[in-house]
């Protein structure tokens, strides 16, 4: 990518010292509350906030500049900010000269992307875009934070690179409290990627296209490895759809709830000859399984999670497994042994030792070292303290690269038939598909039903009142839910959280994917609202 690796460039502890935070497509007070607290700390210390989000979130209300960007038009906003930075001579010339490549191409490309033009697409006043560019470029410690509002688009990778362009233009990277920071959604989504649960690479970002990597693992694992390119989850579903995929082993995931276009997902699972689901609850996906293997929760096992700042931290067993359940690692080992490939580990500690021995990124991390506090990778040897922020002095890929990325429209935009733009997200009280939080008495007492946020003007035109049950439909399905009428979303946009099985918003979302990461476009599709009575 632009810098050479994908994760937060800074640490959570650096947030409070930021002088300017540009928050785009993220709602930390709800989705990452403790990062939200660190940002609130920065706010108290006088940090300037620029917030670009289609919803008037908490930080939007406390920002110096709120940019209510129309979902799917982030590219216009970001490129026009680059335009202003260059047009007004605010770029960091020394940094561009010594640490980047491709500046002239970017300069030529953004020349025509004026704030006025961007304003037409994004709905943000041109003067506010100029102001944002000036504030961001001139601040001494500027950091950009983004989450799924940037990535869950067909142009998600483009968006990330366009953000990186801004950091490279201004040199706001590779320093404490200064950088580009995606905040990861799930407890161990960083770890799952780090551990090579990806079709094209082993753990520690060792690519299978490198013959030396394949050979190294063949020797270490004592097995012949497949050279065939693996399939991503969207590709596997595509092959199911065509009847060209036969078995799936799903560990701790609920694709029926989490994949877009639910009907298509269910249809795909039904074509399988054999489906194994390993989970702690009867998830929506588990209902379609042939065999269900009951796993333990995090409180019943040992191991490690890696958080959004690349910190490998211990998970410790607090209670014995409930009922007849077993920890996932043990189930996988027992299954592997039965399939004729020996996996024999006394405990997760020995698994970690193998992980560290086969990946330089984690080589210096072991259970003894992270007994009291976690360590942030890269950590090449046991003397290394871990890495607080990335790209100091040099990028992973050498020079930072500017990308020229023209706007690409979302796969589906509102039209006559489905005139509203539906975007989705998370709330403070619930998590993911709600399998855990909706079984927590304390939490469901506070809030336990789905809702759709509607702008007052739209509501008036549709004759909808606050609290009324309405039908929300897209080309792929419909759900019934409660309307929350306010000015939190702009006219023409509606927002629905993702946690509720009885009003699963992924019945509506579109199964269109980013061309590189194959992340689905949860953030934009056409929809309509109808009165029920």
């Amino acid at each position: 990518m632009s810098f050479g690796s994908g994760s937060m460039t800074n640490s959570i502890s650096e947030i409070k010292d930021c002088k300017l935070i540009f928050l785009i497509g993220g709602n930390p007070t709800e989705a990452h509350p403790i990062v939200g607290l660190e940002m609130k700390k920065a706010l108290r210390k006088g940090c300037t906030f620029i917030v670009a989000d289609p919803r008037k979130i908490w930080f939007a209300q406390h920002s110096k500049l709120y940019l209510p960007v129309r979902p799917g038009t982030d590219n216009w906003l970001l490129n026009s900010i680059a335009h202003v930075i260059i047009a007004e001579g605010l770029e960091n010339k020394e940094f561009i000269k010594t640490r980047t490549e491709g500046f002239e191409e970017l300069k030529a490309f953004v020349k025509d992307i004026t704030p006025e033009k961007a304003s037409e697409f994004t709905g943000i006043p041109a003067e506010d875009i100029r102001q944002a560019a000036r504030l961001y470029a001139k601040s001494e410690k500027s950091a950009i934070f983004y989450t799924l509002g940037i990535t869950e688009h067909t142009c998600g990778t483009d968006n990330v690179r366009t953000i990186a362009n801004l950091a490279l233009l201004t040199g706001h990277i590779g320093k404490s409290s200064t950088g580009v920071n995606p905040i990861r959604g799930q407890n161990n989504v960083q770890g799952a990627t780090d551990m090579g649960c990806l079709p094209d690479r082993m753990h520690g970002y060792q690519y299978l296209s490198d013959a030396a990597v394949v050979e190294k693992f063949e020797k270490a694992w004592d097995v012949k490895l497949s050279r065939t390119q693996g399939a991503t989850s969207p590709t596997m579903f595509e092959r199911m759809d065509k009847g060209q995929f036969k078995a799936l082993y799903v560990i701790g995931e609920d694709p029926v709830m989490s994949e877009p276009n639910q009907d298509y997902t269910i249809k795909g699972l039904k074509t399988l000859e054999f489906l194994v689901v390993q989970d702690i609850f009867m998830s929506e996906t588990a209902k379609y399984a042939d065999v269900i293997l009951p796993a333990t929760s995090f409180s019943e096992k040992d191991g490690t999670f890696t958080n959004t700042e690349r910190r490998v931290q211990r998970v410790r067993k607090a209670i014995n497994p409930i009922g007849n359940t077993k920890p996932d690692w043990q189930i996988i080992c027992e299954l592997s042994n039965r399939m004729g490939y020996k996996m024999d580990y006394p405990s997760p500690k020995e698994v970690w030792d193998e992980i560290a021995s086969l990946a330089p990124l984690f080589a210096g991390i072991n259970y003894a070292r992270i007994e009291s506090n976690g360590i942030q990778w890269p950590c090449p040897d046991t003397k290394h303290p871990g890495t607080k922020f990335l790209h100091e002095g040099k990028f992973t890929r050498g020079l930072g690269k500017f990308f020229v990325l023209p706007y690409r429209a979302p796969a589906e935009s509102p039209d006559k038939q489905y005139p509203l733009l539906l975007t989705t997200g998370r709330t403070l009280y619930h998590y993911g598909a709600g399998t855990m939080t909706r079984r927590s008495a304390g939490i469901i007492h506070k809030t336990n039903d789905c809702f759709v946020e509607v702008n007052q003007q739209d509501a008036q035109e549709l004759g909808i009142f606050d609290g009324e049950m309405v039908r929300v439909a897209s080309r792929r399905g419909e759900i019934t839910t409660r309307a929350e009428v306010s000015d939190k979303v702009k006219k023409g946009i509606i927002w629905i959280p993702m946690h509720f099985v009885e009003a699963a918003v992924n019945k509506l979302t579109k199964d269109a994917y980013d061309n590189i990461t194959q992340t689905a476009e949860y953030k934009v599709c056409g929809a309509k609202i109808e009165k029920i009575i």
């Binding site: 161990n188 036969k246 191991g303 304390g442």
Partner: protein, 357 residues
Amino acid sequence: MVMIPKVKLNIDGKTVEVNKGKTVLQAANSVGIRIPTLCHDPRLEPFAACRVCMIEIERGKSSALITSCNTEATDGMVIRTDSEKVLKTRKMVLELILSDHPRDCMTCDKCGACKLQDLAYEYGVRESRFFESPGGGIEEDRNPVIQKDKSKCILCGRCIRICAEVQQDYAIDFKNRGFETETGTPFGKSLLDTTCVLCGQCVSTCPVGSLVEKQAVGKGRDWEFKQVKTTCAYCGVGCTMYLNVKGNQVVKVTSKTGSIPNDGNLCVKGRFGYDFIHHPDRLKNPLIKKNGKFEDATWDEALNLVALKLGEIKAKYGADNIGVFSSSRCTNEENYLAMKFARAAIGTNNVDQCART
């Protein structure tokens, strides 16, 4: 790097050097001198409400009593934390606090972890010369997670300040004046009807038994719990927290200031979203679908069937017709084994997880 100037002072005969801007309390703690506190929480601005951190400072030939938590350490200060005057005053302060606090430690959930109890014990304050029966008691509130006992509140303001300074939710504040002063919501509303987000940070900072986790009431006290340090399983921030376990039951979740990366803070999910662990819906046995219905099976039956079926499908269609979805909810070790299983045991690179979705 900006160099922060240093200041030198004398505490209990020891020379102490700290960065300018540190308080006397911080300076004392930095060399291991303990000064008791009740209203102090390192996450909050100094407040100097409880007065138990009182120390004696030399002022020429005389001396003065000042609160150490909100006094900046300056060059040349000469301080005593253990003089007779300090100890006598501290004892009096405790007596005054206890004059408005019930003495029902035997039924209090905070017993053993209560800072006031510890100090009363340390200073031998058995009776208060000012004792009056404190009013109030457990407040009725529809909220399911936070219980407040008005009579036990010592008005240190920690709950109010953490709500305002750290959370910036401003759900509670001081109400009334003088002896009638209490903490609470506007117009005595339920927390559910205010800006409260049920993070429970107020519970985490309460030094006495006034605010406790409602669901843990009567289920055990500090010394009965095994506190297991672990990492939260919700979002990607990865807060360090402690599961408080009694028997085979997770009774409550707590955290400690200074923990990385959350400094003792937790959100509503981390602190109160744990009862899924013991929920009756948990899958407890392997299940095999027979004629469209799930039936309980033994591990041997289930695992043998899975191994057999995957083996058959591999033999019939080839390994690349099988896929593995691993989980961003599972541990690193499990994800590693899942991808190793796909690649080494099945023989396919069809392994993915939900980072993309």
